[in-house]
């Protein structure tokens, strides 16, 4: 066998990137998006709690957690991670359209692969950590 249990990733614990400036900026943007989405949906009533939880808090929380996920080793995956965080954060505004946003995730990943081939990507997303 060519590889063991530590393939394709090492068995070190996953450490969140709380100290990373980019992660902090993206997480702050996610919080802003959630706040804006909540404001746009106002005034709320208690009977909206489930809809807000599903359509705003859930995508917002996922985007926030993913923003602090460890940085992938490859450029395309680093771009993919940031694009997926932004895409998930945008889902807080989508309402029922969230279904179409889910279907479009492969296109977002394809965009990451395409962006990784450009010169701008290397300077923006930098070298592997």
């Amino acid at each position: 066998m060519d590889h063991g249990a530590a393939y394709p990733y090492r068995l070190d614990p996953l450490a969140p990137t709380f100290g990373n400036r980019r992660s902090q900026a993206i997480a702050a943007a996610v919080c802003g998006a959630v706040a804006l989405a909540l404001w746009l949906r106002g005034p709320w009533t208690l009977s909206d709690a489930d809809t807000i939880a599903l359509e705003v808090i859930l995508p917002g929380a996922l985007a926030f957690v993913l923003a602090f996920a460890p940085s992938p080793a490859t450029l395309a995956n680093r771009i993919a991670k940031d694009l997926v965080v932004v895409w998930t954060a945008l889902a807080v505004f989508a309402g029922d359209g969230i279904v179409l946003m889910l279907v479009a995730v492969p296109a977002v990943l394809a965009l990451a692969v395409a962006l990784a081939r450009t010169r701008v990507a290397g300077s923006w997303w930098g070298a592997p950590p």
């Binding site: 450490a15 990943l109 692969v113």
Partner: protein, 434 residues
């Protein structure tokens, strides 16, 4: 004391059922700091739960075990927030909890939590007589398989069993969850897909889908048997798999997923399912292709270069790519020798490539043996014969995959074993006694 209306109470219950598990899972992620294998295990459990819980809900509806007050944001009467929260509760939370206690205790606590809470969860849930049977079904269909698959993934054990979970789980997405969600979005019923074929075209579509799904199962089984891994990118094969369907096309699972969804779209006359098929195709053709190049090619450059140089990504080869040689050990006078000399070598000359036939040595048992050292394959009996067939052109290879399909291969192995024993006994008897 705040007096809540039924609608408000229902909305708060639904929100809590989503956000409670989500917050607990995030806290456990932060405190327990799982490694990538544990995180993959948690993801496997979550992914198992989504189709399994939907199936459980459909069963509960049919059997009258319980019902949900939904009204909006629901799929077939299952509130989506409760569904996701339940999948997190019986998925990542249950898996992370195995770091703190035994899996048996996790299951017991989950049962206690359900038995205590479900009867008092009105107006969201209304339990009906016999609901404990549904609870048992939930354990068998959802919690126990998810925990088992997750623990095996975490510990990197029993790839064959993991492959079965992946086949069932992905089958649940392809045949249940995705069509049910898309057809509901189109205002249609899931059972539009499950209707009986009404024309020759329908029959052809069903046959094509079944054939493709079968090849997909064969490919997943090959990942497990040869690569000791699964189709999940975070738990991949540990060597480049070049046998089974992979000897004919490099991306059988990706092609099959997109094609099966396209067939479902045609069968259900659904543009939504056609869009999903296109989405699969985009993912497979761009991201999955890049992922393979970036990861597998990086980890196993020589084997990957040889494989991709010989096997097309999206087209089928007529004859298999066979790297190295296979040894086939045949007895000097058994039925396999008879088949080899009288049938195979006459009818199929040139069809089996790179096969070295040698007499079976001592200690190699009493059955035909197929040995392929480069791929780590060592099979006996009918399964070995099936492996020999896979050196032939595509139809022969497909026959081999059918024979190796466990529900078919296991009884065939027993029957052929009995036949070999009968052959030997009758051939040992003196001629005048026959």
């Amino acid at each position: 004391m705040i007096a809540l209306s039924q609608t408000e109470l229902l909305a708060i219950e639904r929100a809590c059922f989503l956000l409670g598990p989500l917050a607990l899972a995030a806290a456990m992620l932060l405190l327990l700091r799982p490694n990538p294998r544990e995180a993959t295990a948690a993801m496997v459990a979550f992914l198992w739960q989504l189709p399994a819980l939907l199936l459980l809900h459909l069963l509960a509806k049919a059997q009258g075990w319980w019902s949900f007050a939904a009204g909006h944001n629901e799929l077939a009467g299952l509130p989506i927030d409760v569904w996701i929260g339940w999948a997190i509760w019986w998925g990542p939370i249950a898996v992370f909890a195995t770091r703190l206690m035994s899996p048996v205790l996790v299951v017991l606590l989950a049962v206690v939590a359900d038995v205590v809470s479900m009867p008092v969860l009105g107006p969201l849930v209304e339990v009906k007589p016999g609901w404990l049977v549904g609870e048992g079904a939930g354990l068998v269909l959802c919690l126990i398989p998810a925990l088992t698959a997750a623990i095996l993934t975490r510990d990197d054990r029993r790839p064959g069993l993991r492959a079965i979970f992946h086949v069932l789980g992905w089958g649940g997405y392809l045949a249940l969850l995705i069509p049910a969600a898309v057809l509901a979005h189109e205002g249609r019923d899931y059972f539009d897909l499950l209707r009986l074929p009404a024309s020759v075209l329908d029959v052809a579509l069903v046959c094509a889908a079944l054939l493709l799904l079968f090849i997909g199962i064969a490919a997943t089984a090959e990942f497990a048997a040869v690569g000791q891994g699964t189709p999940i990118p975070f738990d991949p094969p540990k060597r480049v798999v070049t046998t089974g369907p992979y000897a004919f096309v490099a991306n059988p699972m990706q092609i099959i997923s997109a094609l099966v969804m396209l067939i479902f779209a045609a069968y259900a006359r659904s543009w939504g399912l056609a869009l999903i098929a296109a989405s699969f195709a985009v993912f497979d053709a761009i991201y999955a292709r890049w992922y393979n190049t970036a990861h597998i090619a990086h980890a196993m450059p020589d084997a990957w270069r040889r494989f991709t140089g010989a096997v097309p990504e999206w087209n089928l080869r007529w004859r298999p790519f066979v790297e190295g040689e296979a040894e086939v050990a045949v007895s000097r006078d058994g039925p396999a020798r008879w088949v080899w000399e009288r049938l195979w070598s006459r009818a199929c000359t040139g069809m089996t490539r790179q096969v070295i036939v040698r007499p079976r040595g001592p200690g190699e048992g009493t059955r035909l043996r197929y040995l392929r050292r480069d791929a780590g394959i060592d099979e006996r009996g009918m399964i070995a014969a099936a492996r020999v067939l896979e050196h032939g052109p595509l139809p022969f290879a497909m026959l081999g995959w059918i024979i190796r399909f466990p529900p078919i291969g296991a009884p065939l192995q027993v029957i052929s074993g009995l036949a070999v024993r009968w052959w030997r006994r009758s051939s040992r008897r003196p001629r005048h006694e026959r």
